[in-house]
């Protein structure tokens, strides 16, 4: 098992590095980093000075190797834009994004799974239709729009919640709902579909025929099997929430890692972008790995594989 884990981790690291090499090349294709750093008001002289200062005149491979060897020793370099160590910058921003991501996925799971289960138990009922409506609305509604509506209702009209910032826990309520609601529909539909399929299978009929209590049938036999694909999906959604919460972070002025990534790409802040890509890749890989382990625990047949 240990050998298996080590192999998986090695492979994962290789994936992260590949992603980082590709993204490094693509970033250079997106425009002259010296011009981007120098800003709109810069003269040719400014651009040239920055090109020399940051070593953009060196071959790309050399630049990449410098970054990689630094990263191996934990030195992620200094942000060109903020003039601060990237590691500290990302650590600060990641705290917010992690908190938001964990809250978002928890909100999504806590609403989607029970709703999916109930909808599957009572297909075509009012609850099923309500779940379907919420799911369609969640998929159709853009995050920025939903966020704005929440701000208007809860910040301006009712005055209950602050519209933006990170000072208190209350600042995270609306962003959590917006982010969680974005992930909820897929999880809900997958739970419902999985439960419907499992509930019509032979072993559930057998369990019911043997007189097993309904709660045992539903939660021990059915849900345990139906939830397996949901675990994988939740892992992917969690990864997405970390890297892709740009809109939510922007609307609620949360200054998290997602927004930092977006802005850093626009500014050609290469050390920050590189480090964020590596961190996000690692998160994806870790979540996928954890979901595999969880699935193996839920379904012993998977352990053999």
């Amino acid at each position: 098992m240990l050998q298996f884990i080590a192999k998986r981790l090695g492979l994962a690291l290789l994936v992260a590095l590949t992603v980082s090499i590709i993204s490094f090349s693509l970033l250079f294709l997106s425009g002259d980093p010296a011009a981007a750093l120098a800003g709109e008001t810069a003269t040719d002289q400014d651009v040239e000075a920055i090109r020399k200062l940051y070593g953009f005149d060196r071959p790309m491979l050399v630049q990449y190797w410098d970054w990689l060897s630094g990263a191996m020793t934990g030195d992620l370099g200094e942000s060109y834009y903020f003039k601060l160590p990237v590691a500290g910058l990302i650590a600060d921003r990641l705290q917010i994004t992690m908190l938001l991501g964990v809250c978002g996925i928890t909100f999504a799971l806590l609403t989607a799974v029970p709703l999916g289960v109930v909808a599957a138990i009572r297909p075509n009922s009012v609850i099923d239709r309500l779940a379907l409506f919420l799911s369609v609305a969640g998929q159709a509604m853009p995050s920025f729009w939903f966020g704005l509506i929440l701000i208007v209702v809860f910040s301006i009209k009712l005055g209950w919640l602050p519209p933006s910032g990170t000072t208190t826990w209350a600042h995270f309520i609306m962003p959590t709902i917006v982010l969680g609601y974005y992930a909820m529909p897929a999880i809900m539909r997958l739970t419902r579909a999985g439960m419907l399929e499992v509930l019509s299978s032979d072993y559930i009929r057998t369990a019911r025929a043997k007189g097993a209590p309904e709660a045992t049938v539903l939660f021990k036999h059915a849900l345990r099997n139906a939830i397996i694909p949901v675990v994988s999906l939740a892992a992917v959604q969690m990864g997405f929430m970390l890297g892709g919460s740009i809109v939510v972070e922007s609307i609620f002025a949360l200054h998290g890692a997602g927004y930092l990534a977006w802005e850093s790409i626009a500014r050609n802040d290469l050390p920050t972008v590189q480090a964020l890509i590596l961190v996000f890749s690692l998160f994806y890989i870790v979540f996928t790995f954890l979901s595999d382990v969880l699935n193996a625990w839920l379904d012993p047949r998977m352990r053999a594989g």
Partner: protein, 502 residues
């Protein structure tokens, strides 16, 4: 745009429940849209950085934004010893926020630090005209220039801030960015990079022409989304926002709770045309009549009244009107699409032609320009690029036609714009030797009349040859609650010193 209108409309309906704050705790809460890179004014190039620079630090000289008159700030008097030596008498009794006294050593240290290219000051143009500084006595310094540079006073009254020598030697740009120390009207008490800045009134501020600060505390947060800024304004968590888009500002102005002030900026928008044939000798824009046709094809009045609004104005010269040397008596091209078509036919393009057309910001303006060009037969392949990508393209290969803007770093001198782009730099699309020669004279002469004469010659030829099609000046909307009194200035510098509570 839809989301903007939606947010604004719903917010307006709910406005009756809004509560106000700010004056009660003497804290003005403002928002920046953009994350500021580093508060150290020599290591950022953004407008937000300029705003903080004017609040935290002082320059040796001050230009009154209303009258454009130069007044002493940290210097009380200045004299040109010769074309490249400026002697300044310094103000006595000034202290930095950390208690360090201000004297000649600070000026010498600051100038020598920023003038050294190796120290990597971000906007080299702001400082690279200085060679070094020398101390004459404790309150007299000499700034030595590399060559005659008549705009020196303008630069000294703008981006060149004075830093405390002992503190800066120890803290450097990173330390200064996190704990800025200046002599300015406001001192910094908190910096969370990119997110949050708190300024407090400098109770010991010297008798500066900037005026004494009145508001006790300024709390600036970075809120990227304009809708959220407006929500915060309605919620009472913000007192002031700025750079608000025209359509939103119009609606906010209709409400009783807010004051919307509009003021022009020094930024102008223009089309640059490849007259030098950098994208190919057969490029249509190498022909004068084609360039003139472009100038006649665009209804600039319509652009200003429909899109830019406010105090924007149509511009005919390759500079901003208030800038020294920005001659206005140049050829102007009225909107006349028929004339444009006729000129194209005369140039050998009776059916028009197809061309690549680029822009990097203000998509709606760029698209409107594109539709005017299409209407006379110049079919544009519109490409919206990141600034860096477009700049690289223009530096390496040039572009047939592109929509550009330039803000002159709020420097009120024509050298900050015309001389940037018509002296054979990599972004010079005209490469006209005569214009370069005239600009060289204007940029280095110490005789104001001669400077004006040569800028005029250059600007007239630029207009005659339609090397650029200057379009319009930009404007900025400032929105604040009725508790705040503020009159913005045309240089787009948010001045906390001149803000008052009503």
């Amino acid at each position: 745009m839809i989301k903007v209108k939606l947010g604004l409309t719903v917010a307006a309906i709910c406005a009756a429940t809004a509560t106000w704050a700010g004056k009660a705790d003497d804290t003005l809460k403002a928002a920046f849209t953009k994350e500021l890179e580093n508060v150290d004014s020599y290591f950022n190039s953004s407008r937000e950085g300029v705003v903080l620079q004017r609040a935290i630090w002082d320059g040796l000289i001050y230009r009154d934004p209303a009258t454009n008159e130069y007044k002493g700030n940290l210097a009380t008097d200045w004299t040109w010893i010769d074309d490249t030596t400026l002697e300044l008498k310094l103000r006595e009794g000034v202290t930095f926020h950390n208690g360090e006294p201000f004297n000649a050593d600070d000026v010498v240290y600051t100038v020598n630090f920023v003038a050294d290219e190796a120290n990597g000051v971000k906007t080299q143009r702001n400082v690279n005209w200085m060679k070094s500084a020398e101390k004459v006595d404790d309150y007299t310094v000499r700034i030595l220039l590399k060559e005659p540079f008549p705009a020196a006073i303008e630069f000294l009254s703008g981006p060149v801030s004075m830093y405390p020598d002992e503190y800066y030697a120890e803290a450097g740009p990173t330390g200064m960015g996190l704990k800025p120390v200046g002599t300015g009207p406001y001192k910094v008490t908190e910096v969370v990079p990119g997110q949050h800045f708190v300024l407090e009134k400098n109770e010991n501020y010297h008798d500066s022409p900037k005026g004494q600060p009145e508001i006790g505390k300024i709390d600036i947060r970075t809120i990227p989304d304009v809708n959220t800024q407006i929500a915060e304004l309605f919620n009472g968590s913000l007192d002031l926002i700025w750079q608000t888009p025209a359509d939103q500002a119009e609606k906010l102005a209709a409400m009783d709770q807010f004051t919307v002030a509009n003021e022009s900026t020094m930024r102008i928008g223009y089309l640059t045309l490849d007259a030098a044939g950098r994208t190919g000798a057969d490029n249509p824009f190498t022909k004068l009549k084609v360039r003139q046709a472009v100038a006649h094809a665009i209804d600039r009045e319509a652009l200003v009244s429909a899109l830019l609004k406010g105090k924007s104005q149509v511009i005919s010269t390759a500079c901003f009107p208030s800038q020294f040397g920005c001659a206005q008596d140049v050829t102007s091209y009225e909107y006349d699409p028929e004339k444009a078509k006729a000129l194209l036919a005369e140039a050998g393009y009776p059916d028009g032609f197809e061309t690549d057309y680029y822009a990097y910001r203000d998509r709606e303006y760029a698209e409107a320009i594109s539709s005017f060009l299409n209407a006379v037969g110049i079919k544009t392949n519109f490409n919206m690029l990141q600034y860096s990508a477009l700049r690289e393209l223009r530096m390496k290969e040039g572009s047939p036609v592109s929509f550009q803007t330039w803000g002159s770093y709020s420097i009120n001198d024509t050298s900050a714009i015309t001389s940037q782009f018509f002296k054979f730099g990599s972004l010079d699309d005209s490469r006209d030797q005569e214009i370069k020669d005239w600009l060289d004279v204007a940029d280095s002469s110490t005789d104001p009349a001669e400077r004006e004469e040569y800028y005029r010659k250059a600007l007239q030829k630029i207009a005659d040859q339609a090397y650029w099609v200057p379009m319009f000046s930009y404007n900025t909307n400032y929105v604040f609650t009725k508790e705040v009194a503020y009159t913005p200035t045309p240089d787009e510098v948010l001045r906390f010193t001149t803000m008052r509570w009503n």
